[in-house]
């Protein structure tokens, strides 16, 4: 019973990290994508540098900076938030790319036509560009979400009590062996397949005839 509570909490932590990480990624990704498509050069450059830094950074490396580096600067965050912020920063770069390539998938003629019939900037975004771009964004964003689930496991290295951490701890303390690892891995597989399935449904729902 006690173990059940421990693993229930571990699963909740994994899902919380995934969810918070993904929401943060969307906010950062949205902001960076706006920077990158804005007509203001320094913002474009900043967006470009952000994406290149964070999509090329190994997550563990950034995690080390958060956990061991920041306290040296007098900033000590709870370990859960070290992991969550790391996931947001990295996920943000991937989300930004997903959003941008979604807008890129809309043909220029469509946008020009929208302006030609007198739609304002926000109108052409709302009625012409985003509805088409959204379809192309769903799959890459689901990939970002699944990436967050996979990434949340790295929080185990800094002793956040999520699923991977509790799994290896249980294995150390009991003769759990392969079984407990198999169960954990089935959990990860099930959740990420469900994400994929929900994404496919969403994509079908918002797809429009082109």
């Amino acid at each position: 019973m006690n173990n059940l509570a421990v693993f229930g909490f571990a699963i909740a932590t994994t899902l919380a990290l995934t969810g918070i990480g993904f929401l943060g990624s969307m906010v950062i990704g949205g902001l960076i994508a706006v920077f990158r498509v804005s007509p203001i050069k320094p913002l474009q450059i900043f967006g470009g540098i952000y994406v290149e830094i964070f999509r090329n950074m190994p997550m563990l490396c950034l995690l080390m900076i958060m956990v061991f580096g920041l306290p040296d600067m007098g900033i000590t965050l709870p370990l859960f938030w070290c992991a969550a912020i790391t996931m947001m920063l990295l996920g943000g770069s991937f989300a930004a790319e997903a959003l941008r390539s979604g807008i890129n998938s809309v043909s220029v003629g469509n946008a020009e036509a929208a302006r030609a019939i007198g739609l304002s900037f926000s109108q052409s975004l709302r009625y012409v560009i985003l509805p088409q771009a959204a379809t192309a964004m769903v799959q890459p964003l689901v990939t970002v979400l699944i990436g967050q689930l996979m990434g949340s496991s790295l929080a185990a290295t800094i002793s956040v009590h999520e699923l991977t951490y509790e799994t290896q701890l249980y294995n150390l303390n009991n003769a759990g062996g392969l079984t407990i690892f198999a169960i954990a891995s089935v959990f990860y597989i099930t959740v990420s397949l469900s994400f994929g399935w929900l994404g496919a449904r969403l994509e079908n729902k918002i797809r429009m005839a082109r």
Partner: protein, 279 residues
Amino acid sequence: MSVNNILFDEPGPKARRRILIGTITTLIVFLAILILLLLEFAKKGQLEPERWLQFTDFYVWKFLGEGIWHTVKAATVAMLGVIPAGAILAMGRISERRIIRWLATAYIEAFRSTPMLLLVYIFVGVLPSFGFNPEVFWKLVIPIILGASAIMAEVFRAGILALPKGQSEAASALGLSHGQKMRLVIFPQALKLVIPALITQMVSVLKDTTLGYAASYPELLKSAANLTTYTGYLIQTYLVIALLYVATNFALSKFAHWLEEKLNGPNHPQIKVGGKVVV
């Protein structure tokens, strides 16, 4: 900037003035943030020369150099396993035999969605008690191969699917068997399409090697962590290491892009995995 062509018309005089004002304001804000950041670093004593001058020390680099060598060794050996394993899995996934197709698909889906750290912990914490206890190098590299080959299989499959259908139809019309068709017609062309994507996968394998930190394999990140226990210069060391990783991966990605243009021309088909363009 094709995105800007989609969103905006050519700016007129009024818009140009607004853009100029926006540009100047942003520059000022960025500069202010940068100065504040540096001041904060200085206030906490993080800019003191000796904290940074360690990176001019030969012995520090000799120590880190060994970490770099271990990282390169792990990434290279992993890639040598990942590429053939990925190719075989991709072939399996489109095989004519249902059982092979089913097994390959199950493998790919399972290992694509299992965190690699979990695999590392299995090799470190479980398999030794079953009598499988290789050197720590393999406890890092085998999990990477297991996980990354599933993704590599999807890359190969995307390459095969990106070929024009006529290729496969023509091969069938010539009377080639499924195996001959794959070996002689489809695979060689798909390989050429995915070579740049292989380099992009190298980036992700290079990131995966940092799991050596959890397996206690002294690759670059673990070496850096060990170094900080002697020096105590935490921020400096991790920032420099991060820069090394980012610069290497950035160079690899740019090289992949260059190769893509060179090999497959400007109108190359896109290799997508999970809706994301790989190169």
